[in-house]
Symmetry: C2
Amino acid sequence: MDIQLKRGLLDVCVLAAIRNEDSYGYKIIKDISPYLEMSESTLYTILKRLEAGKLLIVWTAEHGGRLRKYYRITPGGIDRIEEFKDDWKEIEAIYRFITRDTQKLTVGSDDEELSTNMERQ
Amino acid sequence: MDIQLKRGLLDVCVLAAIRNEDSYGYKIIKDISPYLEMSESTLYTILKRLEAGKLLIVWTAEHGGRLRKYYRITPGGIDRIEEFKDDWKEIEAIYRFITRDTQKLTVGSDDEELSTNMERQ
DNA sequence: ACGAGATACATCGTATCACGAGGTATCTCG
DNA sequence: CGAGATACCTCGTGATACGATGTATCTCGT
């Protein structure tokens, strides 16, 4: 899978993973992994970024003798997911532009101002 | 619109813009602009990259006293679009993961190996 | 005739970012 | 006792989108 395609999904994916329940780094990766590969270094970078943007809050707690950092989504984080859903409509329009006419060539009326008078050599 | 979300679409968008007819930089931007903002510097960077990857071929021709660089997609470029369509299925799965349970909370049977016993403080 | 804006190309520097490589430490289980 | 899982972290690098900037010609209104 093209790495570039996943960008933009990563941040929102992490937010989605903690939307309905608090979680921690290791578990977030496991939860996301069926859908999207994400390395640990990437995840922790993202968590730092989301914390800096106040899209989630962090606290540390002991669990089984070890320290864990727990993450909880903020209202701002939930807003971010909602914005993503709006952006998705635009993304789908782009997708339709890319895949238009790739199966059958339906040559309709061509009324573009920047009309094509291409000279083939 | 989040810049990151567009990444991965950009290259394929340019290929899609020249898929059914040869084109040139300025026209490609105009054709794409209703769907996706792309600066000129970005476009020319992408065209260079696609040429290096042999996804399109380039030649120069005079038009109205000025030189234009024309671009034509290669079979490899068409393959790239087809691969994108396959990748899109994965992207949609990620989208469903992100938007799942954001409207109604349908708590079904939870049979995950990494089950959640989160302690809320 | 002249200037503004469109057309058409290009380069350079910067900021962002995903990720591999590497590190530390504890727990579990055979 | 050692391997693998759990759990966290940092640093360097390469890829890349884009603003700023530059060059040159054509078109069109006044």
